[in-house]
């Protein structure tokens, strides 16, 4: 365990998903995954679709899906202002797989009247969710 706990808050416009001390947290920064410990340098970045994971001070690991948002890091605290967050156990793998396939299909068809940005973000969301399931299975093994 590191020397002192980090205070982590995961907040969306609808709810507070976590507010409490953690030993360690990781979040998908726009330029790559970030691992955050106590006394991290202050940092401000956007988030991309991916997974947030953290281990609370009582040694419980949490895994969340995040669709995007803002991450603020202060030496003693981390704040994640997320657009959408879903707990890994509430995710539905089948619908994620379906969403990924349909997004891929739409992209490969290359129709003119489709909204590329929207489909790309759907694809990114679905892929991130599927990645979370892969990690969950790995943890169980």
């Amino acid at each position: 365990m590191s020397e002192a706990p980090l205070y982590l808050e995961v907040i969306t416009a609808e709810q507070v998903l976590h507010a409490g001390s953690v030993q360690f947290a990781s979040a998908p920064g726009i330029l790559g995954n970030l691992s955050l410990y106590y006394r991290h340098a202050p940092l401000l970045t956007m988030l991309k679709p991916g997974s947030i994971s953290f281990i609370t001070t009582d040694d419980v690991a949490h895994l969340l899906f995040v669709s995007g948002g803002i991450l603020e890091v202060q030496p003693t605290s981390v704040t994640i202002l997320a657009d959408t967050v879903i707990r890994a156990e509430d995710l539905d793998e089948k619908s994620a797989l379906v969403a990924r396939e349909s997004a891929k299909q739409q992209l490969s068809k290359g129709k003119k009247d489709i909204n590329y940005e929207e489909i790309l973000s759907e694809l990114a969301n679905a892929s991130a969710q599927i990645e979370i399931f892969r990690r969950l299975r790995k943890l169980k093994k």
Binding site: A13, P42, L44, T45, Q74, T76, S77
Partner: protein
Amino acid sequence: MSTTQLYRKQIASVKSIQTITHAMELVAASRIRKVQKRMEESRPYAYKIREVLGHLASSQHHCNRRALMQLEQPKKVAMIVVSSDSGLCGGLNLNLFKSVVNQQKEWSEQSILTEMCLLGRKAMSFFKRFDTNILAYAEKFGTFPKVAELIGVVKIVLDAFDDQKIDAIYLCYNKFVNTMLQAPQIVQLLPLEKIAPLGQREHWDYLYEADFDFILDTLLTRYIESQVYQSVIENIACEQAARMLAMKNATDNTADLIQSLQLAYNKVRQAGITQEISEIVAGVEAL
């Protein structure tokens, strides 16, 4: 028409008003719980984003973005005034408008001009009577507004700020304290007020992944959106609470009114009967 009939008609009409006010009270009471829940859910986000931007404003980043610079003497400020769409909610809107007008007067003494950005029909019908510049206007949010409905107004105000047409943005709304108490608030949105982060050295700056301007722009838009959204939601909660109270008072008043009308009616009716009897008696005596 005889007096008794007149009274009976009056009593009937007051009774139907009572039914309406009572129904409105119940509707407001059932809505308030849902709105209050919604308001409390989105409060943490609104507070936190304000805090993060406050931290950002207190950092030592050297840039010439207007959002981060406090002006000593602003020339023109914008006020976003949040009001309700419908009336019958007591003095809620008027209390807010009063504090807005007072603030306006104070600024105009320092020769600061104000522009108005109005949300809700009541604000429009109030401020169009005065000589005010109206920058933007939106109405009809219903009980559960969506962030998307506010984006247009937010964009107009932010663009005006970026184009240096205005130097500061203030948000005026009713803060929901509890069901009995709503407090008019005037808060500065831009330029950002500094909030020093806990346990941080005096001179520090963030590491910015990606471009600073990109992050700041995104943050600012989300910040204004969330603040305006939060204030609209709070104002709706206030509106329902104020309406519940106003309608409860109205219902109580109609009960008093009915009682006194009933008393007057009884008196007139009794007087009529007495008169008729004495007429009959007089007639009998004459025989």
